[in-house]
Symmetry: C2
Subunit: 271 residues, 2 copies
DNA sequence: CAGTGGTCTAGACCACATC
DNA sequence: ATGTGGTCTAGACCACTGG
């Protein structure tokens, strides 16, 4: 129950009969925080820390706003604002009347394919089938090492897999994972798992993908890829490079996908 | 000053000496709103309406939270939440100590190129030069008409332009605009304007781009495009189709860009 | 019914910008 | 010093879920 830690409250005495003398707490705040961090941000940080340590598992509910407020000795509104931001980052999910839950890649189709931007040209919903082709242990080359923020030559796992839409092979992915986080990864283990790849990472290795960056380019199909995707050699394909991050902006996946845009496209919303 | 309109407040009497009799206003709320809309959403709607009618111009500040609260007879917190959402949608911009401002495509480089996802491969910031090649009046073909939600055969303007990065032609755009909204558009007028295309639309035609959807595909360069972009015929290019929307989710631009990924890529953030 | 998140209020104070 | 947005509180009530 020593959750309270050392919160620094910038708000002073406030209303009521006024607790005089408390003002000095405020000056302490300024001493400790040269840049000023609002209370709800500090609480957000504490919540993230507890999520990171696995105190609350994906799919589970976290304590209610009232309980957290009591635990941290702040008002419900302050906890609320912290949770609001985490919900905005898709790290928590609010469900009115039920509670606040830790986001997961295992429940609905839309949560399983949250990061998949490939869509049918006709706009209909369709989720792909995934087939893992092979898994290799590889020492990280320089570019992959840089992306994953590990050292060149460190152990990695490299998976190749195909995504099929209605049976048609559409995406060929090469996925590189840092070996240190995915010890014991085998093709058999993955094949035995029901669900998405990120769901697998989450439940089997405790690695949660929170956000990702992608770089899209146009390339010509090489002979190998052409065969897998059943297109002519030289056919224009999308090259989609992704770095996915977990807590603390730590990169935990580097991926390169090659995608036909025969009957699908890469969808994006701009705001 | 008849801004107040007919707000329906779901919150009842509340604290203080309690204004008894006000309870019935609540039941009215339920009669009028079968689906229930929170007060701050209603206020958000009113703000959007005023933005739409041009009461507050891009770049200008809107009234302070306190003034809006008084005008709408709600608390500051309620106005605040309405503004929060509009700021989240990049329709308003908050500046602490200064006020809340209507977003514009004319001020900073980053606001001018808010929707541009093309980035240098080495990660450095770089903004392109734009050259308008030609402007034609065209009757909308079926597919464009569908995208713009106009009728086939309606008048449109079709612009072609090139984006150059450090002198290198990188993107060739074909931009279709509904003629009804852009009367008086000429190449000369555009060439005389300093700034981005959306800045031009905003200041010269009062059309504000708020959000957009893009579909990205890989295609082979046709002879014409190849010449403009200085690549070989058949070189893989990104095809980026965009529909841009203004208030009320009204589509006001259909665009197809062809982009070399020699030294640039299409960047995207996934959350 | 009780419990949870969602809305709303009123008031105080802090941080920032400007005069 | 004043005004603006930003934070925080305390308390009330609404909407939704599930026993």
């Amino acid at each position: 129950m020593s959750d309270v830690a050392t919160l620094v409250n910038p708000a002073i005495g406030s209303s009521a009969k006024s607790v005089s003398g408390v003002h000095d707490a405020a000056s302490l705040a300024h001493v400790g925080t040269p840049s000023f961090q609002p209370l709800y941000q500090q609480i957000k940080g504490l919540l993230v820390k507890q999520l990171e340590t696995g105190e609350w598992q994906p799919g589970e509910s976290i304590p209610s706003e009232m309980e957290l407020a009591a635990r941290f000795s702040v008002s419900q509104g302050t906890v609320r604002k912290a949770i609001d931001e985490l919900a905005g980052e898709n790290i928590l999910i609010r469900r009115q009347g039920k509670g606040t839950f830790v986001a997961t890649h295992t429940e609905t189709k839309s949560s399983m394919f949250r990061f998949l931007r490939v869509r049918r040209n006709d706009g209909q919903d369709e989720y792909p089938e995934s087939e893992l082709l092979d898994v290799k242990r590889v020492r990280a080359p320089a570019d992959v090492a840089r992306a994953l923020e590990i050292s060149t030559g460190d152990a990695t796992m490299v998976l190749r897999r195909v995504l099929r839409y209605g049976g048609m092979p559409t995406v060929l992915d090469e996925i590189t994972l840092p070996g240190a986080l995915f010890k014991g990864f085998t093709k058999e283990r993955f094949d035995a798992y029901e669900g998405s790849m990120y769901g697998f990472f989450e439940t089997e290795f405790g690695v949660r993908m929170l956000r990702a960056q992608e770089q899209v380019r146009a390339v010509a199909a090489d002979p190998n890829t052409a065969e897998v995707l059943r297109v002519g050699i030289g056919t224009p394909l999308l090259s989609v490079e992704r770095i996915a991050y977990t807590y603390g902006d730590k990169p935990v996946e580097f991926r390169r996908g090659l995608c036909t845009t025969r009957s699908h496209h890469y969808a994006n919303e701009l705001n």
